[in-house]
């Protein structure tokens, strides 16, 4: 049954399976295992990133398309929720409307961008998506009436999801049942369902054609698949999933601004995670996101230890400064691209195969 | 066996997953014109490209003047004195005819350093090149481009010329120009390995012939032998080349 749930795409490595089970359980019971709002916030961010990066893996790992416009769709989803909650009332109806509008806009934009990928080479396409995303970011900060400009939009959630909603006075197994608690499980359920949907998509005949196109698009075209159509569809699907991730983030943060979703830093983070986690595996998104978000929040403390040890040493001390954690990640990324392009997941699977044979 | 400028023994070439050359054995005697014939897809172009190092040989020996060519980078192969005229001609379309020629003349830093005598000789063979000397090569006609491609290969003396289907799509008068040029080169003791579908040209120029099929050389011998034997032609090339244009 688990096999069918995962669309026959099993981890195929004991270590990977163990890691995944651990992570999923930790996320599933986070409110109980890790009390405190920071911990829950980190867990929620992990969930959002899992979905966001998995949707990008569909595009990059499975279809072989490098796009820098992904954060744009992420932002559209977030702003959809934010604008709807601010303009209309903060209830589920408005939310639904906002999400729907965001999905529609993403659909349109991704279609246009996808059709553009018809005529241009991959590098051209990457550059253009970079320009488009940058323009969109500028647009968002300029249209302050609609988007709140640089300051962004703060808004309330529907009552059930707001922190002030407390149906039960007493904590349950160590966790307070409040709006945040409910929001968290909403996120968890939605992300889980959408991830499984992505697994289903990449393991379907459609997904296999995508992989054929990634390997050799001339050949795929020659066999009779209209690569344009498949690429565009992949583009659209990735955009839609990213939009939903954005909506979830906005719901959790009750705030949306240009830097929470549209910034280039986030695009780089996605790239880092998908490559280090493992391109074309989807599980790489899970493993990568969890590790990355964890490192982003807690590694700094580790690095601080290192820094205090090297206190006084001029350059070396700076190199292990917690603020420079991105340096190490960048080095890891470069090594990953060249030496182990299938990332952590790929390596684990390779090791597992070797022990099997 | 002695007197072979170029020798291939058991050469295999893979392009990706495709196994194109299956053990090619080829001898190219020095100072002679060797014709490489065969149907489309027989592996003739692949053989030339393998010699030039554009595609690496996965197995076998390639020797030029006794030195091994295998594993050498393309520029190093060319530096040994081998000139290559590809089927697509490889003309630099944005550069002028002059610039194309200067580039091909490794010893010349600019047009003034080209061997004027040799250039006059080339102009004699291909007058159009003189006329369009400062014209962007991309604007030349197909036949003129082909002339330029060959002219580039002979702007300086070379030991071996690898020429891939020079007569394709050319008018008979231009083909005659080419035949004259190659005959002149033969007189200068240049060794030529020529891939050609035009059997008239092949017969007019070829001293020895090698016929390829399915990635291997299936017949090698004197040109005269093949030219006189219609049955052999039929068997090797699928039709009587006497009627072939």
């Amino acid at each position: 049954m688990l096999d069918r749930l995962l669309s026959h795409d099993l981890p195929r490595s004991r270590w990977l399976a163990a890691a995944l089970v651990l992570m999923v359980l930790a996320l599933a019971f986070a409110p109980f295992l890790f009390p405190g709002s920071k911990a829950l916030g980190v867990a929620a961010k992990m969930l959002v990133f899992v979905l966001l990066v998995a949707s990008y893996d569909l595009l990059l790992g499975y279809t072989g398309i490098v796009s820098f416009a992904h954060t744009m769709f992420f932002g559209i989803g977030a702003y959809g929720v934010a604008i709807a909650s601010t303009r209309l009332a903060p209830n589920f109806g408005a939310l639904a409307l906002g999400v729907l509008a965001a999905l529609l806009l993403s659909l349109l934009l991704s279609l246009v961008i996808g059709l553009f990928s018809l005529r241009v080479k991959a590098i051209f396409y990457a550059m253009i998506t970079l320009a488009v995303a940058s323009a969109f970011q500028t647009l968002a900060s300029q249209l302050s009436d609609v988007t709140g400009g640089e300051d962004g939009l703060s808004f309330k959630n529907p009552e059930v999801l707001s922190p002030s909603f407390e149906p039960f006075e007493n904590p349950f197994l160590g966790a307070t049942i409040d709006g945040k608690f409910i929001s968290y499980y909403l996120l968890f359920v939605v992300v889980a369902l959408l991830f499984l949907a992505l697994l289903r998509i990449v393991n379907s005949p459609f997904g296999r054609v995508l992989q054929a196109i990634r390997e050799n698009d001339f050949r795929a075209e020659a066999i009779g698949y209209r690569t344009v159509v498949y690429r565009t569809l992949s583009n659209v699907l990735a955009a839609l999933f990213a939009t939903l991730a954005g909506a979830l983030l906005a719901l959790w943060l009750r705030y949306t601004g240009p830097d929470t979703t549209l910034s280039f830093e986030i695009m780089l983070d996605i790239l880092l995670i998908v490559v280090i986690g493992g391109m074309g595996t989807l599980y790489g998104a899970v493993v990568g996101s969890v590790i990355f978000v964890f490192a982003q929040n807690y590694l700094q403390d580790l690095l601080k230890l290192g820094q205090s040890a090297l206190e006084g040493v001029p350059l070396l001390g700076q190199v292990v400064s917690p603020d420079r954690w991105l340096l190490w990640l960048g080095v890891l990324f470069v090594l990953a691209v060249y030496h182990f392009p299938s990332g952590i997941v790929g390596r684990l699977r390779l090791a597992a195969e070797r022990t099997r044979s | 066996m002695t007197g072979n400028l170029l020798e291939l023994k058991g050469v295999h070439t893979h392009i990706g997953a495709y196994h194109i050359l299956h053990g090619v054995n080829l001898q190219v005697p020095e100072g002679r014109v060797t014709m490489l014939l065969g149907r489309n897809g027989a592996g003739k172009t692949t053989t030339l490209r393998t010699i030039m190092g554009l595609w690496p040989a996965s197995q076998g020996e390639l020797r030029f003047r006794g030195e091994s060519l295998r594993g050498r980078a393309t520029p190093d192969v060319a530096s040994l004195g081998i000139a290559y005229v590809p089927e697509s001609m490889g003309i630099f379309t944005d550069l002028t005819v002059q610039e194309n020629m200067v580039l091909a003349a490794r010893g010349a830093r600019h047009a003034g350093e080209l061997d004027a005598q040799r250039l006059e000789w080339i102009f004699g063979l291909f007058p159009a090149l003189k006329k369009f000397w400062l014209f962007p090569a991309g604007k030349l006609s197909g036949g003129q481009k082909q002339m330029l491609a060959v002219a580039r290969a002979i702007v300086e003396p070379r030991a071996l010329l690898l020429v891939d289907e020079p007569s394709k799509g050319l008018a008979p008068s231009i083909i005659n120009n080419l035949i004259t040029a190659f005959n002149e080169l033969k007189r200068q003791k240049t060794t030529i390995l020529l891939v050609e579908q035009n059997f008239n040209m092949a017969r007019a120029l070829g001293d020895t012939v090698a016929v390829m099929d399915n990635g291997a050389v299936v017949h090698a011998g004197a040109m005269r032998e093949l030219a006189d034997d219609q049955a052999l032609q039929q068997r090797l090339l699928g039709l009587s080349l006497g009627t072939h244009q």
Binding site: G64, V66, I123, A126, L130, A131, S134, A135, T138, Q142, F264, L268, L271, V275, L315, Q318, D323, R324, L326, L327, L329, G330, F333, V334, V337, Y338, P341 | M52, A73, T74, P75, D76, A78, Y84, P86, S88, G90, F92, T93, D94, L95, Q98, E99, L103, A104, R106, R109, H110, A111, G112, L114, A116, L119, K131, F132, W133, L134, F135, G138, K139
Partner: protein, 339 residues
């Protein structure tokens, strides 16, 4: 006997290629159009000079990028690192020399030029290392190239932060370069004139190298058909390293100029300019130096004109220009024909 060939070159009956004036006409046209729209000639002069200066700086930075792409099909998403490096080196050199230079105008100019030379040297050296370590392993693999050069940029930016700190550093113009020349009512900033001069110099040097030297010939041919150049006996891979290093050095120079233009330097300077660079080389035609030149000047003019006329639109003027040019010429202003 070179007279035969010389006679050829001067032969009356010899047809030559006709130079494509249209994109340059477009540039002049837009400048001319600006005058009535802006109204006052003095403002127009100031804006045009500002636009051309900005364009020149962008050209200096982008020229290396487009050549590297045209020649070896490598798009260096990390090109911005060299810009940042150049700018930060300028802060160190000029800061270090400020005591020595004191108030002397000449000495300060020496400091500025020293900064430029040091920046070019260091950026070139780092470029050499970048090509060896990051780019060379992924020749021909476009996907990996995009990712790995991006990774290189992240690492580079972080290393800059390690050396110079993560905050912005001021890069003040020395007094000798402050102020403006007055052409009637129009104020033309001295620094901008310098930037234009340097840009014009770089363009002239590039044009000369590309058109009058054999190396330039090799580069132009290599941009079209790398394989054929190798078949002619040239080790073009070594040439590529040279071009990459030159491009990085130019980016370093551009970084110094950009830093002085903004009078402040941040580690993210590379990333900020990257999008602009891509727009410029797409407009110009990937691989074309002249296209890059005209494209950069166009972008500079448009940015300054729209910044004055319609500031809200100015932010999108680049993209708008790119779309407009691509609709006219889908391969850029001066397309490079590849086989």
């Amino acid at each position: 006997m070179t007279s035969a060939i010389a006679a050829l070159a001067t032969g009356a009956a010899v047809p030559k290629a006709r130079f494509d004036w249209k994109p340059i006409a477009l540039l002049v046209g837009i400048a001319a159009l600006g005058l009535p729209l802006i109204g006052s000639p003095s403002t127009w002069i100031t804006l045009t000079v500002a636009g051309l200066a900005m364009g020149m700086i962008v050209f200096i930075i982008a020229s290396g990028l487009t050549l590297v792409f045209g020649l070896m099909d490598v798009l260096n998403f990390g090109h911005g690192v060299f810009i940042a490096l150049g700018a930060f080196i300028a802060t160190s050199v000029m800061g270090g020399m400020s005591a020595w230079a004191g108030d002397s105008g000449a000495a300060n100019l020496v400091a500025v030029f020293t900064a430029m030379l040091v920046a070019m040297a260091v950026a070139g050296a780092v470029g050499w290392a970048f090509e060896r370590v990051i780019v060379r392993p992924v020749y021909g693999l476009h996907l990996k190239q995009i990712l790995i050069t991006m990774g290189g940029m992240i690492v580079g930016e972080e290393i800059i932060k390690v050396i110079w700190g993560p905050l912005q550093i001021p890069l003040p113009l020395p007094d000798v370069l402050r102020g403006a020349y007055l052409l009637g009512d129009a104020a033309v900033e001295k620094y901008r004139v310098l930037a234009m001069l340097i840009g014009a110099l770089v363009f002239a040097a590039l044009a000369f190298t590309l058109n009058r030297t054999k190396i330039g010939l090799l580069i132009r041919a290599g941009v079209q058909d790398r394989e054929m150049v190798e078949s002619l006996g040239y080790r073009i891979r070594q040439l590529f390293v040279g071009v990459f290093v030159a491009g990085s050095a130019l980016a370093g120079l551009g970084g110094v100029l950009w830093g002085l233009y903004q009078q402040t330097v941040v580690p993210q300077i590379g990333g900020q300019v990257t999008v602009l660079l891509f727009i410029v080389i797409i407009i110009g035609g990937l691989g074309s130096t002249l296209g890059c030149f005209v494209g950069a000047l166009l972008v500079g003019l448009m940015a300054n004109y729209t910044g004055f006329l319609a500031p809200k639109v100015a932010l999108f003027s680049n993209i708008g220009l790119m779309v407009a040019v691509l609709l006219w010429r889908p391969q850029g202003l001066y397309p490079v024909t590849n086989r």
